[in-house]
Amino acid sequence: MTTFNALIVIALAYVLLLFAVAFLAERRAARGHANWLHSPLIYTLSLSIYCTAWTFYGAVGYAARSGLEFVTIYLGPTLVMVGWWWILRRLVRIGRAQRITSIADLISSRFGKSTQLGMMVTLISVIAGTPYIALQLQSVTLSFAVFAQAEGVFWQQTDFNRTAIWVTIGLAVFTVIFGTRNLDANERHHGIVMAIAVEAVVKLLALVAVGGFVVWGIAGGVPQMLDRIDATEIQLWEQDSGRWVGLIFLSAAAFLCLPRMFQVMVVENADEQHLHVASWAFPLYLLLMSLFVVPIAVIGLELLPAGSNPDLFVLTVPLDQGQGGLAVLSFLGGLSSATSMVIVATLALATMVSNNIFVPIWLRLQATQQATMSGDVRHVILLSRRISIAAILTFGFLYYRLSGGGTALAAIGLISFTGVVQILPAMIGGIFWRGATGVGAGLGLMTGLLIWMWTLFLPSFGVDAVISQSVMDSGPWGLHWLRPQALFGITGLDPLVHGIMWSMLLNAAMFLCGSLFSFPGPLERLQGAQFVNVFDHSTAAPSWTNASTGAEDLLIMAQRIMGSAEAQAIFEQEAQRQGKVGYLPEVTLEFIERLERELSGSVGAATAHAMVGQLIGGSSVSVEDLIAVADEAAQILEYSNRLEAKSKEQERTARALRDANEKLTALSIQKDAFLSQISHELRTPMTSIRSFSEILREGGTNGEEQGRYAGIIHDEAVRLTRLLDDLLDLAVLENGQVELHEQTGTLADLLDRSIRAAGLHDGVLEIVRQSSDEGILITADLDRLAQVFINLISNARKYCDAKAPQLTIRVGQAKGRHVVDFIDNGSGIAAEHQSLIFEKFSRLSDEAKAGGAGLGLAISREVMHRLGGDIAYLPEASGAAFRVTLPDTTAAAVLAET
């Protein structure tokens, strides 16, 4: 009894150690020292809960019975891990982006937050998971019994039961303490993860130690071991291709679908990058775990008496060889395997039961009692989780008690796998196929569940336990094709492969058909897009905190849909209306309604309602969902905007072409107009000259007429010459070939000279000047400047229509420059003509008496630009008014240098 008591003490000490480890990890995490907890190594080790007591002990027994087939259980997960780029990466990303808490949550969330689907997946998981928990309890009790037996005590059923109860209670306490400290699944269970990491190391060490002892301690080395393997009675390779392929598929699928695996792989994943390491490190772990399975089986069969349970070789071989310490280590390895699996599986199942069954029902009950939900939901959820944990462990224990812990239980492992694998079609379809619908998923799950129960689960209780032998042989109600192990008359298959094949085939078929023939609701479609396109709008960075929806979240969402400027404008406006500064108003009901209306303009009313409703209502759709949906909507908008932009672009191009064409036409018209204007201007004086010279030549005119006609001819010749001069001058100015001769003089002198040259000898135009202002010294080409002044003065003389024409010349300053204004008292120039007067030949048609060509102002403008000054019409003055801005002397100097 001493060894057994020591074992009890060691086991309790080990359990206490685990509690301590979990507690310390929790405390460090709470203090923000969780970095080392978030290492890829811990992540990899936490995946080891895949290796349960069933595999720790059972693999050796499996190998002893079926040879190499045991390895399939590890090959599937290895393929999934090394192929992480296919599925795992996507799952982890979706889990993060959608804040998934369990595999039931994943399915429910994907198919439009369907409560029914969540319940269905939970139900499958619990039915398939409970026997598995029972299996762990059995292995722990069995291992205790082995030690008791070594002491010569043969356990009775009551001993088994008592042990199982204590183990169950211990596990429940541990899981409740460390599993329900936090509510949010994203606040990970550091304590549990750390504890199972430690257990992972212990069980690996234990198995490797036993294996090493067997190979080197008993066989005497690797070559001797290989010889013994070759000589063994075990059939290493019994070719059953169905089982080989089927089991690899089954283990791979179960690895993805098992709630506990989903928990550690997706929910507890702290960093997507950890997959990089886990992709090879976990397969390595699996390899080490299975490396010594065959040697232990071979040696166990050789050493131990016939009839020994090969499932316990890992314990019995060291005990048989007198290696008590090694046996205890092995026992701890088995205990670790069992407890870590049960803890995580219970936690995962409890989360599912609580979230997908308990809480929805509770909320419904609440809703019927009172309109608004009050109180701390958090407390309710935690309580429901704790109750769920206790309930699941109780179920496990009861299952263990009822099944009697016999071989029937041992067979349940793979059957349990097949059960959870029914989730696979909905899961894979959901994350890769946008067309997958909730109806399809539900049909598939139901079908799979029914076939699994009929072909595998119910028969597993043993003949006549649930299904009678007659039904097994001839089907229910004589329906031969419904025989549990020969569905549709297909016989000769291994029962397991038969069950896997039919359940998966029909499950997938129903899922596909259901999806193809049903139409998903809006939320479901949005979620579908989210899941399938998860890499388009999520980053690998840790998700942001689960802040309650505030104005900021709404703003971000609105920006995604409406564009930043518009959304910000709306928010700012609302904030101002509320008397706040900035972009973030209080989220009032009115504002939400208004925002919804605005959004519906972009994405349609239904979607906008769903989005805002979900965001505000705090329901299970997360903010990220909505933002990602918004992203998608924005992408569609962007796409259509691009199309629109493209057609706008074409329109712009067409308009540009049209403009260019018009410009060319206008230029050619201008050129034509210019040429015909020149022609007109030249031919008109020539007509007079020719006509009158002919008259004079013909004779018959009196002396007075002769003098008068000769005078006309002379005037017209002068006009013609002046016109030609102007044209040449303008051509030179426009081509920039003008030479400037800089001089310095006073403005007064220049004006005097200009007035004299303007030919005011007839005395019609009166000039008004303010000589006091005219003392400015100008450095410029004074001749050119005078030309401008002369032109302006003579224009006033020609065109001023006042009875007593008067021209005021005023010197002043504008914008720091000297200006000279020429203002007459006539009626001025009509507004519509003011822009034209500086154009060539713009002689305004109603000024019929104009003698000169309309080149004067055009030349003046050119001159002033050359000089570095300007000339402009002053519209506000009473008569025609021109402002000459004198050149800046410095500017003129620079011009002279160049």
Partner: protein, 94 residues
């Protein structure tokens, strides 16, 4: 729904390498599956005791396993050494 690609057609050399590594990472499980399906062609143990698969078969299974682990480790190491694509556009702050 067609969506125009966000990235340019021609990638930087490093990005190109990164993508091919991902392709390789996707191929590893396919390789594993093929290699682990080969035992299906092994002779049946019960047929003839001489031909029966023995420790060599065991070594083969574990050899393939080790190969996959090494390949996967190598790929994940290379993926980390070679710079990634520029990160996707970060969330605009209001």
């Amino acid at each position: 729904m067609s969506r125009t690609p966000k990235t340019s057609v021609f990638l930087q050399r490093a990005s190109y390498r990164q993508r091919r590594l991902r392709d390789a990472a996707r191929l590893v499980p396919c390789l594993g599956l093929i290699l682990w399906m080969l035992p299906l062609a092994w002779p049946v143990a019960s047929a003839s005791q001489e031909d029966a698969v023995r420790s060599a078969g065991l070594m083969y299974i574990f050899g393939v396993w080790l190969l996959l682990i090494l390949l996967s480790a190598g790929l994940s190491r290379w993926m980390r050494v070679i710079p990634h694509d520029p990160p996707p556009e970060t969330r605009k702050q209001p």
